[in-house]
């Protein structure tokens, strides 16, 4: 852990000191030790503030968009960040050659709220491995199952390491295969239960657009959701369904499953469950094994002459 952090600081300092890079994006300690915050280092002397620990939860990919305005960017990159960067590159928003990707293998990030609830106080440190999470505060060490306190996106993660890298802080971890268990579970619910579930979730939406603003696939210069003729500002349930549908559909086939939308949602709406539904159907219908990993042409911008019409007959 400390080795990686030291290496990261060295690389960042080197990049910024070399004069070619204007910004290095990573994390630094926050007000609360369980909530490090995204940090933008501008010169080599600031690299010492960078930290890596299991509380580093926020996605960093989206931040390169603005940072690139100042010049080339170095960025600490986990698997999810890497997919986000791939998305931005595929969308023509980011030039690969203007990035220096410092890859790190990630075993999962701790959800600070769940960790605090378990410990009864703010944890100061945490250790994450393939089996368990150890939360530490003062003299207290508590080992708990991963699924009790990791961010939900980390529990479903199949890309612990980025596919793009310019330097590595450690050995890459192998990629896995997404199982879409939560989507399958939802699909098995009766339609009325599904509707009741989503209506309840969408009702809560406050339209803060955090889900969109944090999303590496939502990098449009201007968003149709901001155009009142395309998306009314009203928040009736009908409008909430319209908004949620449009957000999810606009990332269909483009979502990298980084889970940032769900992490960012202040109302805890399970947005990943929407995105993953599209991903699962793309995998099943179009034979694309890993639809969350960006490809040259996105699945809805191409076709095969023999695409299945398996949905035909569903209605009758």
């Amino acid at each position: 852990m400390t080795d990686r952090q030291a290496a990261l600081r060295d690389i960042a300092a080197g990049l910024l000191g070399g004069g070619q890079f204007a910004t290095f994006i990573g994390f630094r300690a926050g007000l609360d030790p369980s909530r490090p915050v995204p940090h933008f280092v501008r010169d080599a002397s600031g690299a010492g503030a960078l930290v890596i620990n299991p509380f580093c939860g926020a996605g960093l990919a989206r931040h390169v968009l603005e940072a690139l305005e100042d010049g080339p960017v170095g960025i600490l990159t986990r698997g999810c960040d890497g997919l986000g960067l791939e998305r931005l590159i595929a969308d023509g928003r980011v030039a690969r050659e203007r990035l220096h990707i410092v890859a790190v293998a990630c075993r999962g990030a701790v959800d600070p709220a769940r960790a605090r609830a378990i410990l009864g106080r703010i944890p100061e440190r945490a250790e994450v491995d393939a089996q368990a999470v150890t939360l530490i505060a003062g003299e207290e060490r508590r080992s708990v199952p991963r699924d009790s306190c990791l961010l939900s996106r980390c529990l479903n993660c199949v890309d612990p390491s980025p596919r793009l890298a310019d330097s590595w802080l450690d050995e890459p971890l192998p990629a896995g295969v997404r199982d879409f268990k939560a989507v399958s579970h939802m699909e098995q619910q009766p339609p009325e239960a599904r509707y009741a579930f989503w209506a309840r979730q969408f009702r809560r939406c406050i339209r803060c657009y955090a889900c969109r603003n944090v999303c590496p696939a939502c990098s449009c210069r201007s968003c149709s959701l901001d155009d009142p003729e395309l998306q009314e500002r009203a928040t009736s349930l009908a409008d909430q369904f319209g908004f949620q549908f449009t957000r999810a559909y606009h990332v269909a086939g483009r979502c990298v499953a980084c889970g940032e939308c769900q992490r960012a949602c202040p109302m805890s709406i399970p947005l990943s469950l929407l995105n993953e539904k599209f991903l699962k159907d793309i995998r099943d219908s179009f034979g694309i094994a890993d639809p969350h990993r960006p490809s040259a042409v996105e699945p809805l911008a191409c076709y095969r002459p023999d695409d299945p019409e398996s949905w035909r007959g569903d209605a009758r």
């Binding site: 995204p38 926020a58 603005e66 809560r204």
Partner: protein, 338 residues
């Protein structure tokens, strides 16, 4: 102020009594998140800290009709919505109640009182639960609010072991206590209030109140706002959840010859928030909008109203996707100043 004791086991009956004459709202846990919602007989989820949404959901709703219209371009009939009915909100934390008092300073200021807000405010009874434990993001003491603050409340409940001390703060609160008299014990327990008054708030960020406004103004043009803007995503989570943010925008929904003019929450953190018809935007950058939010809450609002437009509820810190906690930002600025 009239004070009474309510035995803990009679709390449910007390709530039922409240629900008899008004829609009763309170914090409940739904899908793993605590929200103010209509209780509908569910037991309230009283936890340290605050529910995700604030009381403005009930006093300045996310969207509300201003009027309905019907007709063409020249001959239009208007219909204003029905007056609000009575509502009571139970389990409010003192900071949220104080926030209502702050918002009312603006929205009820004559001669331009906000009629819709006024009607709702008058029909709303606030039953506050003083805090015996602070939430993870609370910093009320940093901004002059106490865990036992009664401002903005009608009734404050001070929890003690086995009972609650009930204090009527307003005439409306008094009548609530009178109508619930059957459950109440006229005994007094000053200690309950004192306990809450001394509830420790971790004061994360250790915001120094001294000269805060002046010190903020001193860094108003500091480049650190640009750094904050790099991190900020420009979403509206902080403002929409903030109990003291009251900005709204008007919009029309038109359906053929009918339509509705509504108002809905707006956020100063949104691009185009202050875009003017002529194309000028006084807050053209994210940095300018963030700075505006902080200066408004901690300097400009106090300059006019004498109090911060922040009650330390901690929602912004708890929900900001990139950890832009108000107290955290202040401490960063302190660093910058040094």
């Amino acid at each position: 102020m009239t004070m009474n004791l309510l035995p803990s086991e009679r709390l449910a009956e007390f709530r039922e009594c409240l629900a008899a004459g008004a829609r009763l709202y309170g914090p409940v846990e739904v899908d793993g998140i605590v929200l103010f919602e209509e209780l509908g007989g569910r037991p309230p989820a009283i936890r340290p800290g605050n529910p995700a949404n604030s009381l403005k959901s009930f006093l300045c709703p996310q969207t509300e009709a201003v009027f309905d219209f019907e007709g063409g371009y020249t001959d239009v009939a208007l219909r204003v919505p029905a007056a609000p009915t009575a509502q009571a909100i139970f389990g409010v934390r003192p900071c949220d109640a104080v926030a209502l008092e702050r918002v009312s300073r603006v929205l009820l200021a004559e001669p331009f009182a906000d009629e819709s807000y006024r009607q709702r405010r008058e029909m709303t009874t606030i039953l506050t639960m003083a805090c015996r434990e602070a939430g993870p993001h609370c910093f009320c003491r940093s901004v002059g609010v106490s865990p036992a603050d009664g401002r903005g409340s009608d009734v404050v409940l001070y929890p003690a072991d086995g009972h609650y001390l009930l204090e009527a703060v307003t005439a409306r609160g008094l009548s609530v206590l009178q109508s619930a008299g059957a459950f109440l014990d006229p005994a007094r327990d000053e200690a309950a209030r004192a306990t809450c008054q001394s509830t420790p708030v971790p004061l994360i960020g250790a915001v120094e109140r001294e000269d805060l406004a002046a010190r903020l103004e001193a860094v108003a043009l500091h480049p650190h706002w640009d750094e904050l803007a790099r991190r900020c995503l420009g979403c509206g989570a902080c403002t929409f959840l903030c109990p003291t943010c009251y900005c709204f925008a008007l919009f029309d929904t038109v359906r053929g010859a009918r339509g509705r003019r509504s108002r809905g929450w707006d956020s100063c953190q949104f691009k185009d928030y202050s875009l003017m018809a002529g194309g000028h935007d006084p807050l053209p950058t994210k940095a300018s909008r963030i700075r505006r939010r902080f200066l408004h809450k901690l300097s400009r609002f106090p300059a006019v109203q004498g109090e911060y437009a922040c009650v330390g509820c901690g929602r912004c810190g708890g929900t900001c996707p990139v950890g832009l906690h108000l107290a955290g930002v202040l401490s960063e600025l302190e660093e910058v100043l040094r």
